[in-house]
C-alpha cells in the first residue's frame, strides 16, 4: 500500500495462498488458541443458528424456554412461509432488482472502463476523475431528491426505480476496479487483433470482454450483494407490498406478526438462505473484490 490505496493492481504478481500457508514460521496453536476460536465462532453463528432452530419451534416452546432445541420439531412455520405467495413475490422482486442492477452495472461499467483503460486521448484522466469523484457521494446523502426524482419519472413501485439508481451509485466503484484490470491485459493482444483486421470495437467484443470475465464477476457479485441487501432506497420507492423486496418483506412481516416469534424466525431464516448460499458459492470473489478495492 505504498502507492495511493485505490485500485487493485492485477499486473502485480500475487503469491498463491497455498504457497504461503505452510511458510508461516510461527505454527499452529495450543488449546487456548482453539478455545478463543471456538468462542468467536459460537458468538458469530449463535444468532443465525438460533433463528434457524427457532423456526422449528412453536411460540409456546419459545416462551417456555428461550434456549433449547425444538421438541418436538415443528414444520408449520417454515411450511407457512414457503406456501405464502407474498414470500415468493418478495423473493422474485429482489431477484429482479438485483439482476437488473448487476447487468446494468457490469455492462455500463466495462464499457466505460474500456476507453479509460486502453485509449489515449485528451481529457482521459479528467473523465476518469468523474467516476472517482462519484465515490464521494453515498446514496444516503441524495436519498430525498432521488426519491422525488424516481417519483417524477413515474418509477415508484417499479423494479427499475430501485435498480437504476442503485446501478448508478455502484458504477463509480465498478469503473475504478475495472479500469486497471483492463489496462493490465497485454498490449500485444490488441496489436494482434488489429493485424487480424479487428477494429477497436471488434477487439472490445471478441477479445477484451471474454478476457475480463474474472473482473466482471467480482464487480457483479459486489453489486448483486449490495442490491440484494439494500433497504433505504426500496423503503422509500417501493410502498406497494406487491413491488417490495425481501428486506422490506422481512421488516414488514416482523412488525405485522410481532407476536408470532416463531413465524418471524422462520421467515427471516428463509430470507437468509439465498444470501448465505450465494455468499458460500461466491465467497472467494466477494473477499477478493473487497480486499482488492481497499488494498491495491
Amino acid at each position: 500500500m505504498s502507492a495511493p490505496t485505490t485500485t487493485p493492481a492485477p499486473g502485480r504478481p500475487v503469491p498463491l495462498r497455498s504457497e504461503r500457508q505452510h511458510r508461516r514460521t510461527f505454527g499452529g496453536g495450543g488449546p487456548l488458541v482453539y478455545a478463543i476460536a471456538a468462542v468467536v465462532v459460537v458468538v458469530t453463528v449463535a444468532p443465525v443458528v438460533y433463528a434457524f432452530l427457532g423456526g422449528f419451534r412453536s411460540n409456546a416452546q419459545l416462551a417456555a424456554n428461550p434456549v433449547g432445541l425444538p421438541d418436538p420439531w415443528v414444520l408449520d412455520n417454515y411450511a407457512g412461509v414457503l406456501s405464502s405467495a407474498s414470500f415468493w413475490r418478495y423473493t422474485l422482486n429482489s431477484t429482479l432488482v438485483a439482476l437488473i442492477t448487476t447487468v446494468v452495472v457490469a455492462v455500463f461499467g466495462v464499457m466505460a472502463a474500456y476507453p479509460l483503460a486502453r485509449y489515449q486521448f485528451r481529457g482521459r484522466e479528467a473523465l476518469a476523475l468523474v467516476f472517482t469523484l462519484g465515490l464521494l457521494f453515498p446514496l444516503t446523502v441524495a436519498i430525498i431528491p432521488l426519491f422525488l426524482l424516481v417519483r417524477d419519472l413515474d418509477l415508484t413501485n417499479s423494479v427499475w426505480g430501485v435498480a437504476l439508481p442503485q446501478a448508478a451509485f455502484a458504477l463509480p466503484l465498478t469503473v475504478v476496479i475495472l479500469r486497471p484490470f483492463l489496462a493490465a491485459l497485454p498490449k500485444e493482444l490488441e496489436e494482434a487483433a488489429m493485424i487480424d483486421g479487428a477494429s477497436r470495437i471488434g477487439f472490445f467484443w471478441r477479445v477484451l470482454l471474454p478476457l475480463s470475465g474474472p473482473g466482471l464477476v467480482t464487480v457483479g457479485v459486489l453489486a448483486f450483494v449490495a442490491s440484494w441487501n439494500a433497504y433505504l432506497l426500496p423503503l422509500l420507492v417501493l410502498s406497494d407490498p406487491a413491488a417490495q423486496t425481501l428486506p422490506l418483506g422481512v421488516a414488514s412481516f416482523s412488525s405485522q406478526y410481532a407476536q408470532d416469534t416463531a413465524g418471524v424466525l422462520a421467515f427471516t431464516s428463509i430470507a437468509m438462505i439465498p444470501a448465505l448460499v450465494f455468499f458460500l458459492a461466491m465467497q472467494r470473489r466477494i473477499v477478493n473484490g473487497l480486499q482488492g478495492a481497499v488494498k491495491g
Binding site: A142, A170, L173
Partner: protein
C-alpha cells in the same frame, strides 16, 4: 456494502488522478495544435471520439441522472421550505441549516454518529486484530473460521436486525444467556432503555461488521514477507514480540484504510439502527441518516431534510479530508514498510 468500500480511496485517487490530469493537459496541448493542422488524421480522430462517446455515454448518463442531479437538487431544495409537492417558491435562505443546528435531536444525532465512529474503531480494531492474528496461525479449520467470521457482513442489515430484535427482547436468548452465567440481575430492556440502547446497538454493529476488519487485516497480513518472521525467529523473538514489533506495524496501512471505511460507514449508518430502535427510545440512538429520513419522508419536510443531507455530506467530507490528510498521508509517502520496520 459498496458504500463502505467506496469512500476509502477517494481522496488518494483524486489526488493521484488530478496529478495525472495535469500532466495530460500539458502534454496534450502541443499535440492538439499539430493535430488540427493535419486533416488526414482528423477522420480517424473523429471516429475515435465517437467510439469514446459510445462506450462512456451510458455510464455517464446514468451517473448524471441518478447521482449528480439528485446531489445538486439536495443543495437546491435545502434553501427552500418545501413539502415535496407544491411549487418550489418559499425561499428561506439558510434557515433550514440554522434550524437543524439548533435542534437538539439533530445535534444529538451528530454526537451519536461520532460516538459510533469512536466506539467502532476502539472495539473492532483490537478485536479484529486479535482474530486476524489468530487466523494467521496454522490452526485447523482456518478456512472455515474465516468464512464463519465474515458471514454476518454478507447478511442483509434488515434480516440480521430483525433476528437481533428477537434475541434482545425480554426473555429472549440474550437474557437467557445472561441469566445462565449467573448474572440474572443484569438483564435489561436492552433496546428499550435510553441509557443503554446505544451500547446495545454497538454490540450488534460489532457482530455485523467485525468480519470486514478481520478480512482486511488478514489480507494485509498476507503481504508481510515471510523472511521477516524467519529473521526475527532466528534472533530469538517470541511470537508476541514478533506480532507487536513487526506484524502490527507492517499492518499499519491496512489498519488505517479500514479505519477510513469504518468511519464513513458509521457516518452513513441507517438500516441496522432503523430496524433495531428506529432512533429511539427518546432519540437516544438517532443518527444523522435516521433523522434525515424521518424528517423527509415521515414529516414531508423535504427542504429541511435536504439541508440535513447537505450537512451530513459536509461533515463526511471534512472528516474524510482530515483523515486523508492526518492519517493516510503517511502511507502515500516514501517506502512506508521499510520506514516502519526500522522505527
Amino acid at each position: 456494502m459498496t458504500a463502505r468500500t467506496t469512500g476509502a480511496d477517494v481522496a488518494a485517487t483524486a489526488r493521484a488522478t488530478s496529478g495525472a490530469a495535469d500532466r495530460d493537459t500539458r502534454s496534450a496541448a502541443p499535440a492538439r495544435r499539430s493535430a488540427s493542422g493535419g486533416g488526414r488524421r482528423l477522420s480517424s480522430g473523429a471516429r475515435k471520439r465517437l467510439e469514446i462517446a459510445f462506450f462512456t455515454a451510458p455510464a455517464l448518463v446514468l451517473l448524471a441522472l441518478f447521482v449528480v442531479v439528485p446531489v445538486l437538487q439536495a443543495v437546491r431544495y435545502s434553501v427552500f421550505d418545501w413539502n415535496g409537492l407544491g411549487p418550489l417558491d418559499d425561499f428561506v435562505g439558510l434557515d433550514n441549516y440554522a434550524r437543524a443546528l439548533r435542534d437538539t435531536v439533530f445535534t444529538g444525532a451528530v454526537v451519536n454518529n461520532f460516538i459510533i465512529i469512536a466506539l467502532s474503531i476502539l472495539i473492532q480494531l483490537p478485536l479484529g486484530l486479535a482474530i486476524a492474528l489468530l487466523l494467521n496461525r496454522e490452526i485447523r479449520g482456518r478456512a472455515f473460521l474465516r468464512v464463519v467470521i465474515f458471514m454476518p457482513y454478507v447478511l442483509a442489515e434488515v434480516v440480521a436486525g430483525v433476528v437481533w430484535v428477537l434475541l434482545l427482547q425480554p426473555n429472549g436468548l440474550v437474557d437467557a444467556v445472561v441469566e445462565g452465567v449467573g448474572l440474572g440481575g443484569l438483564t435489561q430492556l436492552w433496546l428499550g432503555d435510553p441509557e443503554i440502547a446505544l451500547g446495545t446497538v454497538m454490540v450488534v454493529l460489532t457482530w455485523k461488521y467485525l468480519g470486514l476488519a478481520v478480512l482486511l487485516f488478514l489480507a494485509g497480513l498476507q503481504g508481510v514477507p515471510e523472511d521477516v518472521y524467519e529473521a526475527a525467529q532466528l534472533d530469538g523473538a517470541s511470537w508476541w514480540q514478533v506480532q507487536r514489533r513487526i506484524t502490527i506495524p507492517l499492518l499499519g496501512p491496512t489498519i488505517r484504510t479500514w479505519g477510513f471505511l469504518s468511519m464513513i460507514g458509521s457516518l452513513q449508518l441507517f438500516d441496522m439502527v432503523w430496524i433495531l430502535t428506529g432512533g429511539g427510545p427518546a432519540n437516544s440512538t438517532v443518527t444523522m441518516a435516521i433523522y434525515l429520513v424521518d424528517q423527509g419522508t415521515n414529516r414531508g419536510l423535504y427542504g429541511y431534510a435536504s439541508a440535513v443531507a447537505v450537512l451530513l455530506f459536509a461533515i463526511s467530507l471534512v472528516l474524510a479530508v482530515l483523515y486523508q490528510y492526518l492519517v493516510l498521508r503517511r502511507d502515500n509517502e516514501g517506502a512506508p514498510a521499510a520506514r516502519k520496520v526500522t522505527r
